[in-house]
Point group: C2
Chain length 315, copies 2
């Protein structure tokens, strides 16, 4: 399933309106076919993997990160039917598809055809990989990642706003990679005025993966999609994953509305003192603050440390 999730990553941000799914077909330890959702959403991952495997798929096992679809569309057949026709003996699924056109019907159709089905394998990784699709399905809005680059004492900038640089080159390169993995980036009016941010992806080979640019502001800005409130992200068409980059007031606005699903925290080993820290987020008491965030990843980036947290209870 790890291989299937890894294939699904190839489709991240390019499979709209369909989820980015990965699929591997295996028999006797040999990989017979690999697939991932193609640009624009078709063919599906299973169709691609089955086409590669051909007749060899008979009696094989299919690993797929999302339940095969049960609905026929003008753009292609249902994957559950394709798998039955292909003759696979077993299907291992990471996540049930919340799309009401499938939602268990794909698994039922496979089982009815005598195929052994296992569900829930590698669910956490698959969920992370399809976070955008799942947030759109469940909450009707994009999956939101908040990026913060902070000193040990929690400052995103000096008291007068200077913030170049808190973190080092490795952390900044990683942040650009995260940009490339999102459909859109949002900044607030303060960051827009102060930094005139390009919000592009400055990594060799990924320059063309620059996401859409969104401004959180009461006043529209030419050339920018402007939202008046955090909740308005639900209206963004074609944006399933949103990276909120700053500044502190914008971060606080999203946290206050509990609209942050994932925290990307780059921490530099420096002490600033009197810096710009996170303003009020409407916390009633300390007990409320606990158990909201779960650390899911941590790594060293040069002298900085990256920690990734997920909002508890969103899976």
């Amino acid at each position: 399933m790890a291989a299937a999730v890894s294939l699904a990553e190839r489709a991240r941000g390019r499979s709209t309106p369909n989820p980015n799914v990965g699929c591997v077909i295996v028999q006797d330890g040999r990989v017979l076919g690999r697939g991932w959702t193609q640009p624009g959403g078709r063919p599906h991952a299973e169709a691609m993997a089955l086409a590669q495997a051909g007749d060899a798929a008979r009696g094989a096992t299919c690993y797929v990160t999302l339940e095969p679809c049960a609905h026929v569309s003008p753009r292609g057949p249902a994957c559950a039917d394709l798998l039955v026709a292909g003759g696979v003996a077993r299907v291992v699924v990471a996540l049930r598809d919340p799309d009401p056109r499938t939602d268990g019907d794909g698994i039922a159709r496979l089982a009815a055809a005598g195929i052994a089905v296992t569900n829930g394998v590698g669910a956490a990784e698959a969920r992370r990989s399809m976070a955008g699709f799942l947030a759109r399905q469940r909450f009707g809005r994009p999956h939101v990642t908040l990026k913060l680059a902070l000193s040990l004492d929690g400052a995103a900038a000096m008291g007068d706003g200077r913030s170049q640089w808190i973190t080092g080159a490795e952390a900044r390169a990683h942040a650009h990679l995260e940009r490339a993995r999102h459909d859109a980036i949002l900044v607030g009016r303060g960051t827009f005025e102060a930094d005139q941010p390009r919000l592009d992806v400055r990594l060799a080979g990924l320059e063309r993966r620059a996401p859409a640019r969104i401004l959180l502001s009461a006043t529209p800005e030419p050339g920018w999609t402007t939202l008046a409130t955090p909740a308005a992200i639900a209206t963004l068409a074609g944006v399933d994953t949103l990276l909120v980059e700053g500044g502190a007031a914008t971060a606080a606005a999203f946290l206050t509305e509990d609209l942050v699903d994932r925290l990307l925290l780059y921490r530099a080993p420096i002490v600033i003192g009197g810096g710009r820290t996170l303003p009020d987020i409407g916390l009633g008491d300390l007990a409320q603050a606990h158990a909201r965030w779960t650390r899911v990843d941590a790594r060293q980036l040069g002298s900085d440390r990256l920690e990734v947290y997920e909002r508890t209870g969103r899976d």
Copy 2:
């Protein structure tokens, strides 16, 4: 040498006016004698280890965390002379003794007697173990550890001052262990008024290791040693290791004077927003903030994380 440092830890905070030293005498893989500075400073670690080893010390190797002393005192003979008389073949030293009465003379006397001497083995660990003694020798003041218990966004308390609890039980127990390892604890007037802190050691078996209590305040307080400024720590007799516990203004006062040697950072996985963060520490620009702190330890304590930093360039 690791074993010798570990023995030295037994004398930490109890060897005044002498440094806490550890010593192991070894021959053919067998430990013949172990010693550490005894309460009140005498006997020295080498004298204790030699007494245990007796005649077996002839031809043996002696590992000691500080250069053996070269000065005879009314309280005992010079350890360099004892080692020569004991007949050891080799002495391995972690650190040269900065005390002007020795300062290389101990090593020279051993070498003159035909003993093979190696210096600098395990220096970093020995330096950490004797940090109080070394700060007193080099800077004429105690070694200062600043403890901070912070949220992800750097808050030590909510905006209204509530701070019970930011960190969990494991982190608080660790903080009590750190108290037991220091000669004195200092708090500021704000923490004193708000929390009426006991500053005791609430760990079974260590209750009697409660350090002296110091207050940073312009106004004296009955029952407390009161200092008007951070620099006045130099006047504290019998205090070689000081733990600064809070609050944010006191932390900033010590950081502003560059009087913090070690940062003890307990980080809880919570976001507070609008909390009490570190005030101004007189930083001119961001470049000044970099490369001042080196992480020397990190560990998980329940859901919290402890990071230990040392001020760069103090060794």
